[in-house]
């Protein structure tokens, strides 16, 4: 059976505690390097004043999106983008709910406009001058898979390269105990409907059921994967780091997995 969607990977970005870019992650996942110190995500795309003021979710998403686009050699201004996150900026949501419970008329207007789920998409398109379609999606705990399905669908349907960034930050306050997101993580992919020299292809087919994920047998990778909904991408990212053909399943919704065959050019 032919896959539902085939996309080539033009660029990759990643930020995890202990791996501040894709290369650092690859060295850990494929070459046995030790995780490093945690560095603040470097969102070089944002103007310096925005970088200082931006909420953590925006910094994280813009940092990985910037890495992926740079690796791809594409022009960010022309790339449609999909920003996926299970929970958006939980620190701002916690601030909003606490302020609304105590002094609602003192709510910060800046915090309010940064509270929208599409704040990273907004800041990204503003910083890169991107007038293409931009989206902000959630799929709950399955947000990464849902975002991957949406981005791959967009790339194939409109025959365009598409930027996907999936991010979640650590939960805080009473909300944090509901979301069980214990650490930040973000990943980005530039997906292309054509090979154009790319080395890696993803053949994606939705399949019924949630198979659950097998442990990867590496404490750091398994811990990372369990820490954050966007980090459900970690088994895929590990497979990409190994640069070998592989097959795996990722959840895209309750009751729906994506079967992904990873093809690597010889």
């Amino acid at each position: 059976m032919s896959p539902a969607l085939s996309v080539w990977i033009g660029g990759i970005g990643l930020w995890a505690p202990g791996a501040s870019d894709w290369h650092a992650f690859r060295d850990i996942a494929a070459a046995g390097a030790a995780p490093g110190e945690s560095a603040r995500p470097l969102a070089e795309v944002l103007p310096p004043n925005e970088r200082r003021r931006a909420p953590e979710s925006v910094l994280l998403a813009a940092a990985v999106a910037g890495q992926a686009v740079r690796m791809s050699g594409r022009d960010a201004a022309t790339l449609p983008c999909v920003f996926a996150s299970a929970h958006g900026d939980q620190v701002i949501t916690d601030y909003m709910c606490e302020t609304l419970a105590t002094a609602p008329r003192e709510l910060s207007p800046t915090k309010f406009h940064n509270s929208v789920h599409n704040a990273p998409a907004g800041y990204w398109t503003i910083a890169t001058g991107c007038h293409a379609a931009s989206s902000a999606v959630s799929g709950g705990e399955e947000a990464f898979g849902a975002g991957l399905l949406e981005a791959a669908t967009l790339a194939v349907a409109d025959d365009r390269d598409v930027l996907l960034a999936s991010y979640d930050i650590a939960g805080t306050g009473p909300l944090g105990s509901m979301t069980t997101t214990t650490g930040p993580f973000a990943v980005a992919l530039v997906l292309s409907p054509r090979a154009e020299g790319a080395a890696v292809r993803l053949d994606i087919t939705p399949e019924r059921g949630n198979s659950g994920s097998d442990p990867m047998g590496d404490a750091w990778l398994d811990g990372l994967s369990a820490s954050n909904p966007s980090a459900r991408a970690v088994p895929l990212m590990r497979a990409l780091a190994l640069m070998k053909p592989a097959a795996l399943r990722l959840p895209a919704a309750r009751g729906l997995d994506l079967h992904i065959d990873i093809g690597v050019a010889a």
Binding site: A4, L5, A77, A86, H87, G88, T93, M96, C97, L100, P104, R105, L107, S108, P109, F112, H113, S115, V116, H117, N118, A119, A121, G122, Y123, T125, I126, T128, C130, H131, A132, A133, S134, S135, A136, V137, S138, G139, G140, E142, A143, A146, L149, E150, T153, L154, V156, A157, D158, P174, L175, S177, M178, T179, P206, R208, A252, A253, R254, L256
Partner: protein
Amino acid sequence: MPHLMTPLAISAYTATSALGRGLQAHADALAASCGGLVPNDFSTAPLDCWIGRVAGVEDEPLPPELAEWDCRNNRLAWIALRQDGFADAVRAARERYGSARIAVLLGTSTASIGATEEGYRRLDHGNMPADLHRPVLHTPHSLASFVAAAFELDGPCLTVATACSSSAKVFANAERMIRLGLIDAAIVGGTDSLCDSVLFGFNSLELVSPEPCRPFDAGRSGISIGEAAGFAILERIEAAKDAPLLIGYGEASDAHHMSTPHPEGLGAELALRDALARAGIEPGDVDYINLHGTASQKNDEVEAALVARTFPATTRASSTKGFTGHTLGAAGVLEAAITLLAMRERQVPANLGATTPDPLCGPQMAWRPEPAEIRIALSNSFGFGGNNACLAFARAEQRA
């Protein structure tokens, strides 16, 4: 350039807002130019403004088997889903295609954050109170996961949360998935309900009017916030021969500012051009445009100029936010439903609330209701972060 789109059938649709429950309540209110805004009585310390509130939501908890999802936003969704035979249409589609071949693609700006706010108002020793210990509520995905669970659907399930364009953009998501054969049908739409986050949030930006909103009035003073839920089923046209059609959509970004539209409406115009190109139509083919028309100074200024410079006077245009308030993430689908109703009822809705037209407005504006044969219509939805969407619809007879 985007490809010409193969039209899709809108085989069922429904809406619930301050105008009432279901399509007939909306048709009656629009025909009578009778709006639904009322003085704000929402929240513990109501702001001095007007709101579009759906009556009775607080009195109708979800059925016991869905109790995990019970909150104002999902109650409003559940009320809307039971109007106009919509729930039965979903079940029939499930029967026809199978549960994995139907996607749930829903827009919302704040989902059930009202439940999270409530938890913070009555914390139990600093923790979420026991009755709100329900993680499914405290996420933007609450609405879509609720609808998928309520109808036992296990196809793709996605929340689009791009502020006020959210439930317009889901029509585009559905078209792509159907075209590529990933699904056979999609439940699209969205729900946003009144909550402190948006009332006090828009108030903090000084965008809330102390009076009922007056879109495109020279003296407009800001938005009135409303709540609404709306849903539609999209499928291939062979499946529903007499249904109205989705014939195009456009999506684009302003790349300008987080909370202010591009001064020349660049993203709005790109979304419009994208929609026209996918639909294969020219501005002169458009009989009616349901405008975003929030009654904020900037939106209406930019949108009025865009319409005035793009369309002939035969294209009629109005904002219906004077009827319903700005229903934020639900505005896309609510106004899609109003646009389809305008086609069905052969009447352009009034631009309710305006008495002194902004001089930027062109001759396209329908200040009062007008009888009209509406064959092709557009609906605009623009959101924070410069996120723009435009939907194009046609009557069933327009299919090639």
